[in-house]
Symmetry: C2
DNA sequence: CATGTGTACTTGTTAGACAATCGTTGGGCG
DNA sequence: CGCCCAACGATTGTCTAACAAGTACACATG
């Protein structure tokens, strides 16, 4: 059974709703979330609202100190680098290990197909399948804790993307081609090459994101030779 | 200032105390922790106790379902494998990246010295510096999220060690020698070799731990040729 | 022996309250 | 006029008390 029935607590339900509102941009960076506001707007008691907030704080989506109002995290360039480098650490090693068995998850192949299909939509439509491509690779190693760690990053990654959704930072064709190449390298048992390509892939996204946020981009932001878009 | 003053909330203080009691073995595997028990024993309100429990649940040290009493996690062989493999994923990649700059953290060197110094003590005395050796390597990459992820594993790793503290699973000399060799390989820029040695190092600990817990150990449990202890 | 029921225990959630703390605003003083 | 300090409001941390809802186990029943 894939999706057993929910049986969510009120706290979880509110946390889930807040989470989606953060991802959708309904709650922007730095926006304040007081316990009483949430309590009244969801018509629950303050401790319930408090617990929801604390859940999101633990996930890294909200930020707050003692006696201070919780706010949606405001990710600066250095946080973006931190997040993407952490991704690279996890994912490149996963690629190496997957290459040893030369197994590629079907979900990753499907995710890449969905990226191709979403080219006609808005830039934001690419985010979901792109994310799914990477998570499916992580999940392929079948390690509960690795997957759990990666999920905690994914939340923040999506947060980055929301902030720059209007900018056309990523060329879909290039994403597609690199994903495809990564899968081929895994299938060919060339883990080292796959890891290197992934580093490039993530490094470029990272530095272009940093630049878009007002930071100074590193050399990784450049397109590979001969693949500059229109 | 390394350790700024605490200013801990009551919830944090109780969580910290429970954590140390779990690590010290005062609270054994599967032991029940009801909210009211904790509330009365620490002389706080039940919501406060509840919050403390939820913190530990989030850390993976306690386990509980809805409407069920929280219990100290009972790590089975499959969990031990999961934990150690997750460690290996993180650490081997960290080693590779450290080898690129050939930098070895002084904390790791010191930790290894402390392991040598603890040989005369109980087997449990080795745990702390051993842990410190590994965490210092992780922290050396200066990535906030990588460090945070690793910390979440460390709690469970220590839990494993508590359960097998009475057994003499690890030969201190071998640990020491392998740690030393890993540092040398990093210094020499041989990241691949360092990662491989680490895999062996962790794999052996992992499988011997599994065997000690009643599982069937894999081939990694064996000592390397020519290094069988007395 | 299997099954259903009931009771005690535990957790989920709420309400209201008070203390401690943070941010800000306004007044007093140089 | 500008700056420092005090008082205030807003917000969070914690508590007490209580009820609802769910679980687990013993018990009685078929």
């Amino acid at each position: 059974m894939a999706g057993r029935i929910a049986a969510v607590s009120i706290v979880d339900a509110i946390a889930a709703d807040l989470r989606s509102r953060v991802f959708s941009g309904d709650l922007g960076s730095g926006e304040a979330l007081t316990e009483t506001d949430i309590a009244t707007s969801y018509e629950v008691a303050r401790p319930t609202a408090k617990a929801s907030i604390e859940k999101l704080v633990a996930e890294g989506l909200l930020d707050r100190g003692t006696h201070k109002t919780a706010r949606v995290v405001d990710l600066g360039p250095e946080s973006v680098r931190d997040i993407y480098l952490a991704r690279a650490y996890l994912e490149s090693e996963v690629l190496r290990r997957l290459a040893r068995t030369r197994e590629i998850p079907q979900e990753a192949v499907q995710a890449n197909r969905d990226i191709a299909a979403s080219k006609s939509g808005t830039p934001l439509d690419v985010v979901e399948p792109d994310m799914r491509f990477h998570t499916s690779l992580i999940d392929a190693v079948a390690n509960e804790r690795i997957s759990r760690m990666y999920r905690s990053l994914v939340g923040e990654v999506r947060l980055c993307m929301v902030r720059v959704q209007s900018l056309h930072l990523l060329d879909t064709e290039l994403i597609l081609a690199e994903h495809q190449k990564i899968l081929e390298l895994i299938e060919g048992g060339q883990g080292e090459a796959a890891a290197e390509l992934l580093d490039e892939h993530l490094g470029r996204a990272r530095e272009r994101l940093v630049a878009a946020m007002g930071g100074t981009a590193g050399p990784e932001a450049e397109y590979p030779s001969g693949l500059v878009p229109e």
